[in-house]
């Protein structure tokens, strides 16, 4: 994968906004002219296509010495939901791991400036593959809400990322008001910003028009800015 920068959006806690964040960061980055990509690696529960309003049964990949991502607006996009026609895909961890390596070995992402990867919650096969085998080429963007259930979960994940040798960890606070900047003020953690809780969030997802007109857009864009300038 000859990509300039690969950000993997992680959180051991589910429902904190990994899929929306990875989708919107990638989409806004592409809208602003960067060559940006989004790869959904949540095999048993892919959902970035719902965020972007893409029907996975319509996604077609071009094959040429590998496969090229589909274009969604200006965004290069890959989701495993396209291979399952959006049907349920229960997979044991060993198969998740095989699928992950299969997919990244056939993808042609050459020339991308920024690649965003969405991942499932937990700390299992995908996370171990990413941390222990792809750790040298990815930059972790950890997402949490201010809830104690999320903060304590994410602390454990951060301690694993650290001990594995990842020295630069980005943090995003979702559905919060900026209060976690102080909580995670530690060497090695770069706080990228927060996105407030927005009760009408369903209007920010589901179609490219919704995504473009999302009232929270400036929050996501300032996170993109910070990422691009920091690392």
């Amino acid at each position: 994968m000859a990509v300039k920068k690969t950000y993997v959006v992680l959180s051991s806690k589910g429902g904190v906004g990994k899929s929306t964040l990875s989708s919107l960061l990638a989409f806004y980055a592409a809208e602003r002219g960067a060559r940006a990509g989004l790869v959904d690696l949540d095999f048993t529960n892919p959902s970035t296509h719902i965020v972007l309003g893409v029907d996975p049964r319509e996604v077609r990949y071009v094959e040429e010495k590998g496969i090229f991502p589909a274009l969604v607006g200006k965004l290069r996009y890959v989701t495993p939901a396209a291979f399952t026609r959006d049907s349920p895909l229960p997979l044991r961890g060993e198969n998740v791991s095989r699928a992950l390596f299969e997919l990244i070995s056939i993808l042609r992402l050459d020339g991308l400036d920024y690649l965003f990867i969405d991942t499932p919650p937990g700390m299992s096969d995908e996370h171990m593959d990413i941390v222990y085998r792809l750790g040298e080429v990815v930059k972790p963007v950890v997402v949490t809400t201010p809830s104690p259930l999320s903060v304590s979960s994410v602390r454990k994940m951060i301690s694993l990322l650290r001990e594995s040798g990842l020295r630069e960890i980005f943090l995003v606070e979702n559905m919060g008001g900026g209060g976690l900047a102080d909580v995670f003020k530690e060497p090695g953690i770069t706080y990228l910003g927060y996105v407030p809780f927005y009760p009408g969030f369903d209007n920010c997802i589901g179609s490219l028009e919704n995504v473009r007109r999302c009232p929270l857009r400036s929050f996501f864009e300032s996170i993109v800015d910070k990422l691009v300038s920091e690392g």
Binding site: F43, Y61, E63, E64, K65, G66, I67, P80, A82, F83, T84, R85, S87, P88, L89, P90, L91, R92, N95, V96, R98, A99, E102, L103, S105, I106, R108
Partner: protein, 129 residues
Amino acid sequence: MVHEWSLAEALLRYVASVYGPRIKTLKLRVGVLQSIDKEVLLFSIRELAGLYNVSLGDVVLEDEEAVFKCNRCGYEWSFNPGDLGEEVRESIHFLPEAVFAYTRCPRCGSRDFKVVKGRGLEVAEVVPG
């Protein structure tokens, strides 16, 4: 269906890193699950050997039947992607694990089964020299 190129690339890199740049015979097992195009694969391997300066003698490709075994009831069956529609076959071509979205144990209906063999490309034998 020319992502055979990337399969060939991964394979050739692996073989060259383990056995060095001179290979007399390369014998591969091609699992039928992935519906790999053997002509394209062979062509890709030869092209890539040239690009990577790997001297390559005979390349032998043999089909390997796809066999699944149910983790619930123990039933074992042979799976033929030819029985599927073109679109589904192509999905599995790209992502073999997509098969879990389309198949269940013919005896007990479980989706909890193992791909015992025939998933993808495997090295059967390498004779260096």
